[in-house]
């Protein structure tokens, strides 16, 4: 029971970034499919966007780790 706060932090905090990364990659794949020549440029921008979205999940991970270990 004492691990519940960190588990909840991680699971709820993961929802938003998961949806965000799905949407970003979906949009990138659609545009690569429409215009394959721009693939490398779109890929660069996509990785940047995914990194920003992932940062939110990492924040909740850090909070979860702090709750668990500190």
């Amino acid at each position: 029971m004492e691990n519940l706060p960190s588990a909840l932090t991680m699971s709820i905090g993961g929802i938003g970034p998961a949806i965000a990364i799905g949407v970003i990659v979906k949009a990138a794949l659609e545009s690569i499919g429409r215009n394959p020549e721009a693939g490398s440029q779109i890929q660069t921008a996509m990785i940047l966007g995914v990194a920003f979205a992932e940062a939110i999940a990492i924040y909740s991970l850090v909070i979860a780790l702090v709750l668990k270990f500190v």
Partner: protein, 280 residues
């Protein structure tokens, strides 16, 4: 048994040099730096001017040339590319090596006790009757922690799994962004932060200062979170099923390490590029 899965969020001190604590992550980052410096000086002495490079030179030309042309696709300027390429390549290679060495055998398993000799009983997983007996008899967690202290600390540990390391990298990165901003735009770059020409610009400047601070935090926590999470993941999986099952996760960590090194270098590059663009 619960005491054997040892996860520490802070690095452990190996020894002190005049009051300066040398931790296992710091030790590993020194090893990586030493390897990079010695290897690159050696490789530099072997370079030849030829149209058909072979072996080591070929490999290095692929890495340096690939990163150079990648940086050029973001800056779109030969002058900026030649100015930024060394530091971006340095960030990328250093972070990548630090992420990857952690997956080598010996990391987390070679235990340093501070005493000469081989301590077989200190290897995690090796059965020790006294220890098991003590764990069975103890009902308090305090006792387990004492045992962890007695068993010594891991000699090698990935440097990016230490928050101090990633904060240092993030501070260097943001300092470099400001340096190139001032270098390319002169004193005008300071107007981005402190501007008394109108109340709106003044508050925009305050927001810019806050965004620089949040850059440090997000750089540091992104790298630390990913690498530390990977370390914990592999530790937990190898604790549950020591054979075969950790392999795909190690593959995943190789991928994550590469992506995080790329993201760190690329974000630094994009922010430098934004800072050096003419003010609109």
């Amino acid at each position: 048994m619960a005491g054997q899965l040892h996860i520490a969020i802070t690095p452990e001190t190996l020894f002190t040099v005049g009051g300066f604590e040398v931790t296992n992550t710091l030790f590993t980052s020194y090893l990586v730096s030493a390897f990079l410096i010695i290897f690159l000086f050696y490789a530099r002495s072997q370079l030849k001017l030829t149209n058909r490079p072979t072996g080591l030179q070929n490999l290095l030309e692929v890495i340096v040339g690939g990163l150079y042309s990648f940086i050029d696709t973001i800056t779109h300027s030969a002058k900026k590319t030649s100015a930024f390429a060394p530091i971006i390549t340095g960030f990328f290679v250093f972070i990548l090596l630090n992420n990857w060495v952690e997956l080598l055998p010996g990391f987390h398993t070679i235990i340093y006790t501070g005493e000469p000799g081989i301590h077989l009983t200190n290897i995690p997983g090796a059965s020790n009757i006294d220890e098991v007996y003590a764990v069975e008899n103890s009902t308090e967690e305090v006792h387990l922690e004492e045992e962890n202290e007695n068993t010594g600390v891991a000699l090698l540990r990935g440097a990016n799994a230490d928050i101090n390391m990633t904060i240092a990298l993030a501070l260097v990165s943001v300092a470099v962004i400001q340096y190139y901003g001032f270098k390319f735009s002169g004193i005008n770059y300071g107007k981005k932060y402190i501007n008394f020409s109108s109340p709106i610009f003044f508050f925009v400047g305050l927001l810019e200062i806050v965004s620089e601070i949040s850059k440090i935090l997000s750089f540091a926590f992104r790298l630390f979170g990913n690498i530390f999470a990977g370390e914990v993941l592999i530790a937990v999986i190898s604790f549950l099923v020591p054979v075969v099952l950790p392999m795909p996760f190690i593959g995943l960590e190789i991928f994550v390490g590469f992506i995080q090194a790329l993201v760190f270098a690329m974000l630094t590059l994009v922010f430098i590029n934004m800072a050096t663009e003419a003010h609109h």
